[in-house]
């Protein structure tokens, strides 16, 4: 059944509208970051700055240690993503392949644990980390991020593992491959896109996280980007809008870059190599 030209045009129009919808906040942030204060206070907002300036970017860097905060965020987010995936992958494999009452209960608990509001957890968590002498340390923050990302990462990966046909592993075993060889040569390559997607989720969650970083890190040199961004906001919610927009725009770039680099891995042939040629 061939798609008609009109239907195809409609699809493209819908896709374009969706892209515009998604891009709007980012482009508006950029537009705001390039406007001088007087233009920001204009009654009629303009898409294209009439008098574009980089002064907001300069001021943002002058006033706050954005680069250092970005490096802190990067370290915490990357560490959290890697550790979460390393821990969650074998767990997910077992939960997907061994369906017992225990794994079903574990899966249920993982879902339920997502319902806990973190405001409820922050004080006990703070006390635990304090006893472990991990307050005001990047490892402490990473530990929290890993624990926080683990349930959802596990849930995601269980789905990915289940999507890999068990018959492929059985076929490898018939061909004489051992358990480890099967996992490394057959299952892992097919799971790679799922692992990457899960790592990406953990990375973005940690990169954007604010409250734990605010509460757990005391030393200014260790603060992450979301915490530093709040320093552009004053009493009664008054904001230094230009520098805030400039800093927020820069803060969104790493996530975008990571997505741009990795998205090909996510979408490329999920079952590439599944069939012997």
């Amino acid at each position: 059944m061939r798609t008609s030209t009109a239907a195809r045009a409609g699809q493209y129009a819908a896709l374009l509208a969706y892209l515009v919808f998604l891009a709007f906040p980012f482009l508006w942030l950029l537009s705001t970051a390039l406007k001088p204060p007087a233009e920001l206070a204009g009654l009629h907002p303009t898409w294209i700055p009439r008098d574009p300036t980089l002064a907001n970017f300069r001021q943002a860097f002058d006033e706050q240690p954005l680069l250092r905060a970005a490096l802190n965020s990067l370290l915490a987010a990357l560490s959290a993503a890697v550790v979460a995936v390393v821990v969650a992958t074998p767990m997910a494999y077992v939960m997907a392949r061994r369906r017992t009452a225990l794994t079903r209960a574990a899966t249920g608990w993982v879902v339920v644990s997502q319902a806990f509001p973190f405001v409820l957890l922050i004080i006990p968590l703070f006390l635990v980390l304090k006893n472990l002498r991990l307050i005001d340390s990047v490892p402490g923050l990473v530990m929290v991020y890993v624990v926080w990302a683990l349930p959802f990462a596990l849930w995601m990966l269980v789905g990915y593992v289940r999507a890999v046909p068990a018959e492929l592993e059985e076929a490898a075993a018939v061909d004489g491959a051992g358990r480890l060889r099967t996992l490394v040569s057959v299952t892992a390559p097919l799971l790679a896109p799922g692992i990457v997607a899960t790592a990406l989720f953990a990375f973005v969650t940690a990169w954007n996280e604010f409250f734990f970083a605010l509460v757990l890190l005391k030393t200014p040199e260790k603060q992450t980007l979301p915490v530093v961004l709040t320093h552009f906001i004053g009493a009664e919610g008054v904001a230094d809008l230009g520098p805030l927009a400039a800093a927020a725009f820069l803060a969104t770039l790493p996530s975008l870059v990571v997505f741009a680099v990795i998205q090909r891995r996510i979408t490329s042939g999920m079952l590439a190599g599944a069939v012997k040629s």
Binding site: A41, S79, P139, G234, V238
Partner: protein, 426 residues
């Protein structure tokens, strides 16, 4: 292979980060952590400079500057107190201190404060930080609510321009805003995103008290004649005279500035520190001036919640922390902080500084109001946050928008409000 290298590198990095984490240096010096909420460039610079000056003069008591944020200070302090990891010196606002003070997290400074500081700040200032008969902070900066006016529109309309010596009455203010309205423009834009504090604090000028403490110490809400003046004025301007914009009732102060600059509104009631934004954002040639808020039976009296500096109860070096506060709040230093934040100092000596009495940017008008500032009425009322969120905010918003009348507003503030407060006073 590459994955293994990456994981190894990350593990090493984490270990190194762990090795270098936190803690006071063990070199015999006292280190005090000072969490400042200064956020505008000028006030951050002034605060940091003062910290540097202290550190240069006091090598044995080092103060470490930590940047906090108004946006999240309450949650952050709450968690830090519960975990025993709070900063030694805490910058906050007096209306945020009650729970921390009653919870035993803030040191009682009554016997630690030097006489100079005690004598310099008027009793009304100390009232804002006194809980359980103890002083739990030092009020050091405050801001009255003023009218920021389009000077050109005022001149053209020919209305009498008020001064602190001869302010508008609430009735006159209403008539003036009517005269300034017309052809798609309004005499005033009330930014009432937070209607409760604005209404209560301005109502002191009309003799409104709303909260009445009985002989048994219990507080009840009574919405009396003095309490009606400000709400009635706003309601009439929005719904009867059409001299106030209905669209700004849900806005914050900053949101009204574009319309103000564009001539849509002739006046905007704002906190004194908003002048900094106006200076920064106003179009070239825009002529504006600061006017006192209208006065009623209570004169120019207004409620305020000053910015405060407190010492954590867990701080092992309270005397040194108070010595730093004493240094930071010397008159000449307080003036620097006040100018940086575009606010008024609470101390009398700082307030007398010539820099705060210039006509430039309305400094003199604000300074003239300083003697009329009182503690915000709700500050010591237990249960106020719940009363505000569940009862007063929706009731006032509905009244100002014209959805309910004055009788229903009174009924809800009193009946529903007293039910809420009663739970906190059993």
């Amino acid at each position: 292979m590459r994955t293994r290298i990456l994981v190894t590198l990350l593990a090493v990095t984490l270990l190194l980060a762990g090795c270098s984490s936190g803690g006071t240096r063990d070199d015999g010096r006292i280190t005090l952590r000072f969490q400042s909420l200064a956020w505008q460039q000028e006030s951050v610079e002034a605060t940091r400079e003062l910290v540097d000056e202290w550190n240069a003069a006091h090598p044995d008591v080092r103060v470490e500057y930590v940047q906090g944020s108004w946006d999240s200070v309450h949650d952050q302090l709450l968690t830090s107190f519960e975990g025993g990891e709070a900063p030694d010196i805490i910058h906050d606002a007096s209306d945020d201190l009650a729970d921390f003070a009653y919870g035993g997290h803030l040191a009682d400074l009554t016997d630690l404060l030097p006489e100079r500081l005690k004598a310099d700040i008027p009793p009304s200032g100390w009232e804002t930080v006194t809980f359980k008969d103890g002083i739990h902070g030092v009020p050091f900066l405050q801001e009255p609510r003023v009218l920021i006016a389009n000077a050109t529109r005022l001149r053209e309309s020919g209305v009498r321009v008020p001064t602190p010596e001869d302010p508008w009455s609430w009735g006159e203010f209403r008539r003036v805003t009517e005269r300034l309205s017309g052809e798609g423009t309004y005499g005033v834009a009330w930014p009432l995103k937070e209607p409760v504090s604005a209404t209560l604090n301005l109502s002191l000028s009309a003799g409104g008290r709303l909260f009445h403490r009985g002989a048994d110490g219990k507080v009840t809400v009574r919405f009396e004649e003095g309490d009606e003046v400000v709400p009635r004025t706003v309601h009439a301007q929005v719904n009867t005279d059409r001299s106030a914009s209905p669209t700004t009732l849900g806005s914050g102060g900053s949101d009204t500035l574009p319309g103000f600059f564009a001539g849509k509104y002739a006046m905007v009631p704002l906190g004194f520190s908003y002048r900094q934004q106006i200076v920064q954002q106003a179009p070239e040639g825009f002529d504006w001036q600061v006017l006192p808020a209208p006065a009623g039976a209570g004169g120019l009296t207004q409620g305020v919640s000053p910015q405060t500096l407190s010492v954590a109860e867990d701080c092992p070096h309270k005397e040194e922390a108070v010595a730093f506060l004493d240094f930071l709040l010397r008159p000449e230093n307080t003036v620097r902080l006040a100018l940086g934040d575009w606010m008024l100092p609470t101390g009398r000596q700082a307030l007398a500084h010539p820099a705060l009495h210039t006509a430039d940017h309305g400094w003199a008008v604000g300074t003239a109001l300083a003697d009329h500032l009182r503690p915000a009425p709700a500050q010591t009322v237990r249960g106020y946050p719940e009363w505000k969120d569940k009862v007063a905010t929706p009731a006032l918003q509905e009244y100002y928008s014209g959805a309910i009348g004055l009788d229903e507003l009174r009924e809800r503030l009193e009946e529903d409000g007293n039910l809420v407060l009663a739970r906190y006073q059993r």
